[in-house]
Amino acid sequence: MFQWLIDPLFYPFMQRSLLVSLMVGILCAVIGCYVVLRGMAFMGDALAHAILPGVAIAYLLHGNLLLGGLIAAVIVALGIGFFSRQGELKEDTAIGILFAAALALGIALISTIRTYATDLTHILFGNILGVSQGDLWLTAGLGGGVLVTIFLCYKELLVISFDPVLAATLRLPVELLRNLLLILLALTVVISLKTVGVGLVAAMLVTPGATAYLITRRLPAMMAVAAAIGAFSGLAGMYLSFYANIASGAAIVLTASSIFLLVFFLAPQRGALWQFIRRGKYAR
C-alpha cells in the first residue's frame, strides 16, 4: 500500500536528496521565524542573490562553491549594514542596490563559462539530484551548527527582536547579535543552495515561519511548527518531484505555499474563513 513511499528509496540519489531537503526544510524554517518576525524577508532574498558572484568565482577557480557563496553573503550582509548605517539611505534601498549589483556581477562571471545556461539554472533553481555524500555531511554539520547557535542564544535573539530598547538597557551587544543573525542567515542560504537554489530560498525562509505564526502564540511553538512544515514540505516536495517529474526546488516551495494557503483560510480563530463566519454572525 505504501509501496509508492518506499520505491524512491531504492535509489541512492533519492535517499541523499530526501535527507538533504529534510534538513534544509527544518533549518530554513527555524531561522525563518526570525526572518518573519524581524521583517527581514527582503534581506533573506538579497543574501540569496548575493552569493551568486561568490559561487561563480569559486567555480571559475575550481574552489569550494559553498565557501565562495558564504564569503560573498557575509560581505554583502555587512555592506548593507554599512550603507544603511551612514543614515543617508534606508535599509531596503541599500539592500536593493547591493542585491541587484551582486546578481549582475554573478551573471557576468557565469556568462564567461561555456556551459553557461546549465550552470546558471543549477545555481538559480537548485540541483538536488547532484547532492554528494560530502554535501550531505556538510549540510548536516553547518545546519546543525546554525541550529545549536540559535538554541544557545535563544534569550538574547528573542530580546533584540522583540524589544531592542530592553536589549540595550540590559547591555546586550545588540550590534554583534544582529550581525550574528545575519551570518547565520547567510550560512542557511548557502546550505540551501543545492536544494532550492538562489531564486527560491526566500520562500523556504518565509513561508513555513509565516504559516506557523498564524497558529501559535509563543516563539518556541512557532519554531517547532515551522520546522514541521519545513520538514514535511522538503519530503513531500521531493516525492512530488520524483513522481510528477517537476523541478525539486519548485515542488518543495509549492508544497509549503499550499500549506500556507490552507492554514491562512482554515486556521481556527485567526483564519480568513473563521473571521468571515464570525462577521456573518454579528451581521445577523
Binding site: 518576525l37 538574547e156 530580546v159 527582536s161 522583540f162 524589544d163 538597557t169 502564540r217 512557532m222
Partner: protein
C-alpha cells in the same frame, strides 16, 4: 550630613538627528527620591531617559550613578518605554515578557530557574495581572500591556526606575496600579523618574519635579518649581493664566486618549 546623590547629571548635552535635544542639563537626584519630569512635547523628556539608559550617546557632560560613571553598573537601571516603541505582534506571552527582566541576572547560556519563575509570578501578582500570564502580549488592552511592562521592570530589581509617560493613554485601574507601585517602591528606596504631562499628578505624588525645555527650567520640590513663570517658560503659548491665579496647560490635542 548630606545625603549621597545616587544619580548625578553634569552638564549633559544630547543630540538627536543632528539637533541638540538637550543642552547643558545638570541636576542631582538623591537616593530613593521620586522625580516627575515635566515638559511640553519635544522638550527632551524621552531623550533624557534614553541617554540615562545608554540608548542615545551623550555628546558632552557626565552621568554618574552611585558616584560612578555610566556603564560601571550592569543591573541597576530599568526603563519602561512608551508603548509605541514595542513590536506588539510578536509571539510572546505576558509571562515571557516579564521573564525578559530576569535575563541579565541569568547571563548567557542559562535557562530560567525555579527562583526566576517565582520572581516573575510575584511581579505579575503585584501588578494584578497574574491571571493574564499565559495570554499573548498583543491581545491585552493598553493598560494591561503597560502593567506587563511595569512587572518586567520590577523583575529587573532595579535601583533606578525610569518610566516614559506611564499615565498617558491608559485606564484608571492602570493609573492606580502604577501609583500604588510607586508608593511601594518608595519604601524599598528605589529611585524613580517618570515623565508626565499631568501637572496635578506631578505636584501631588512626587518628591521632586524637573521642568524641562531642552534645558533645565526648574528643579526642586513641586511647590517651588510649578510657578506661573516657570510653567510659561516651559510650555510657551500652551499656558493660560486665569485671573484667580490658576494656571491651565493645554496639551489636549497631543495625547491620544485610549481606554
Amino acid at each position: 550630613m548630606t545625603e549621597e546623590a545616587r544619580l548625578e547629571i553634569e552638564q549633559v548635552t544630547v543630540s538627536y538627528n543632528g539637533h541638540a535635544a538637550l543642552q547643558d542639563v545638570s541636576f542631582q537626584v538623591p537616593h530613593g527620591a521620586q522625580v516627575a519630569v515635566v515638559g511640553a512635547n519635544g522638550a527632551g523628556k524621552s531623550t533624557l531617559f534614553k541617554a540615562l539608559v545608554g540608548l542615545l550617546p551623550v555628546r558632552s557632560g557626565r552621568i554618574l550613578i552611585h558616584g560612578l560613571p555610566w556603564g560601571s553598573h550592569r543591573d541597576c537601571v530599568a526603563y519602561v518605554p512608551q508603548r509605541e516603541d514595542v513590536e506588539w505582534r510578536f509571539p510572546v506571552t505576558v509571562e515571557d515578557v516579564v521573564m525578559m527582566g530576569r535575563y541579565l541576572r541569568l547571563g548567557w547560556l542559562k535557562r530560567p530557574s525555579q527562583q526566576d519563575r517565582t520572581a516573575v509570578a510575584n511581579c505579575l501578582e503585584q501588578m494584578g495581572i497574574a491571571s493574564l500570564a499565559k495570554r499573548s502580549i498583543g491581545n491585552l488592552s493598553g493598560g494591561q500591556q503597560q502593567r506587563a511592562f511595569l512587572a518586567r521592570a520590577l523583575a529587573q530589581e532595579p535601583h533606578i526606575l525610569l518610566m516614559d509617560e506611564p499615565f498617558t493613554g491608559v485606564d484608571i485601574a492602570t493609573q492606580e496600579a502604577t501609583l500604588e507601585l510607586l508608593a511601594q517602591l518608595k519604601t524599598q528606596q528605589v529611585t524613580i523618574m517618570i515623565s508626565t504631562h499631568d501637572l496635578n499628578l506631578a505636584a501631588r505624588h512626587f518628591d521632586l519635579v524637573l521642568l524641562l525645555h531642552r534645558r533645565v527650567v526648574a528643579f526642586g520640590i513641586p511647590s517651588e518649581v510649578l510657578t506661573t513663570q516657570a510653567l510659561s517658560e516651559a510650555f510657551g503659548g500652551q499656558v493660560l493664566v486665569l485671573e484667580n491665579g490658576a494656571v491651565v496647560v493645554d496639551e489636549c490635542c497631543n495625547t491620544a486618549e485610549e481606554v
